[in-house]
Amino acid sequence: MKSAVIVFPGSNCDRDAHDAIQGVTGTAPAMVWHQETALPEGTQFVMIPGGFSYGDYLRCGAMASHSAIMPAIIAHAATGAPILGVCNGFQILTECGLLPGALMRNAQLKFICEETPITVANTNTRFTSRYTPNAKLMIPIAHHDGNYFADTETLIRIENEGQVVFRYGANPNGSANDIAGLVNEQGNVLGMMPHPERAVDAKHGGTDGLALFESLLGSA
């Protein structure tokens, strides 16, 4: 599977994303600088990694969502290709409108780094097909702004459509409906606060994130 990892100034999980993708797919992803205006020829899967693009200044993900590469990503999403945004990547996906809602400051106002239990709420996506329904995973989170917000109508809609893919076991940040990750209506764009790329190695963070990348590989 040909994949690309987008690098913004301030991205800091780009190498982790690179290694996780390479480890699972056997092929190194292209590292695409935010000032590019096109994805490499033949790109299938795009990952927007975590970090602090533009220092998380103003609002997390806001400035990155206006960078030169974004129109290409939005167009790529429209083709139905898989796009995964993790942590800051999730924030960028909501800021650019590919996913509904917004990620606000954690309810306790503190940065939280912990291994957190999450459950797979929907295994019927190309990101989660390799998980068993309601599987309980341990995946690290590390964020200051992961408190998912959407208005009531939107929440009802995404719940009804099965767009919620991951839920926290013990809500760490105040997220509406314990939402830890969700897909768009078409099901090809996933945003999540927990870091699956930090959970693909028994020596580091466990292996509960592996099946996500394997699902993707299987779907390609």
Partner: protein
């Protein structure tokens, strides 16, 4: 020219920062504080002096970048 932009959370959007500040003020004995909302203040220094043109441009900046319509509203003052 200067543009002063106030960005604040829409009514109905929970404001954890405001709530924390309110709690802290109560702990300090400021019981008259009924509620607190926290927003952003963004000041732009602008070249040019066409106020009306500037208002249109700044409004655009707010809609596109400086605020997030899902959770925030804004107001603009030009001086």
């Amino acid at each position: 020219m200067k543009a002063k932009i106030h960005v604040y959370l829409k009514p109905g959007v929970l404001d954890p920062q405001g709530a924390a500040v309110a709690g802290a003020l109560h702990n300090m004995g400021y019981d008259e504080v009924a509620s607190v909302r926290q927003g952003k203040l963004i000041e732009l220094d602008l070249t040019g002096d066409d106020v009306e043109a500037a208002r249109v441009r700044v409004d655009e900046m707010c809609a596109k970048l400086l605020s997030n319509p899902v959770i925030e509203s804004y107001s603009i003052e030009l001086e």
